[in-house]
Amino acid sequence: MSRRVVVQSEDFDLADEYRRLRELDAAIGAVVTFCGLVRDCQQQARIDSLTLQHYPGMTEASLNEVVLAAEQRWPLHGVSVIHRVGALLPSDQIVFVGVASSHRAAAFQAADFLMDYLKTHALLWKSVESDGQRSWVETKDSDQRALQRWTQSSTPP
């Protein structure tokens, strides 16, 4: 299992991340990637920019914990998580999650799980600048509900 967890202000390149994952093992049959982008609009308000604040060391540790939980749950060959911090503009890339596995079900489920946990467990604080006003983003109920899918007793979706 190869793990890559990065917190950085620089942009990332999906092609590089994908190449790294697919070349890890000849038994890999599925690579799922998720890229999160800054939307131009949130809750009907036009967005000028987003700022993500992190706590060096702790933010990386919180991401590592989330990846570890996914590794324990599915048979994976590789996981990469990159989270950008600092000021971001609409259409900028914010977050990358990539998972390589022998089978597609494990790759899809692990990537989906990683994003749900990352949204609620990664030590990051997001503020939005809109119409010259800065406001902190509130935790969404939908993100909390999304988490419950992974803790219910039924088999994973």
């Binding site: 604040q53 540790a61 990051l124 604080w125 997001k126």
Partner: protein, 82 residues
């Protein structure tokens, strides 16, 4: 002295809060929190939210864990990454 850090919305309201807090025997994050809330009315609401976590030297800690001189105490409001 104890180094204080405030993240997210707490960072805004903590603009006037101190960056250092005098260490003393038996001091806990909980005691620091209440002392700050009393002295900085703008911090009260955000700081006393039940979802706020605390870390000591970059490890999530209990509110009643004793603080040692020179440590870094951080107040972490609910996260909103991704």
């Amino acid at each position: 002295m104890i180094k204080l850090l405030f993240f997210g919305r707490l960072g805004d309201s903590a603009a006037t809060a101190p960056e250092l807090f005098e260490a003393s025997e038996g001091l806990t994050p909980s005691a620091v929190r209440y002392a700050l809330a009393i002295e900085h009315p703008r911090l009260v609401e955000a700081l006393l939210e039940p979802q706020v976590l605390v870390s000591i030297d970059r490890v999530i800690a209990d509110w009643n864990q004793p603080l040692t001189d020179g440590c870094e105490l951080a107040f972490l409001p609910p996260v909103t990454g991704g």
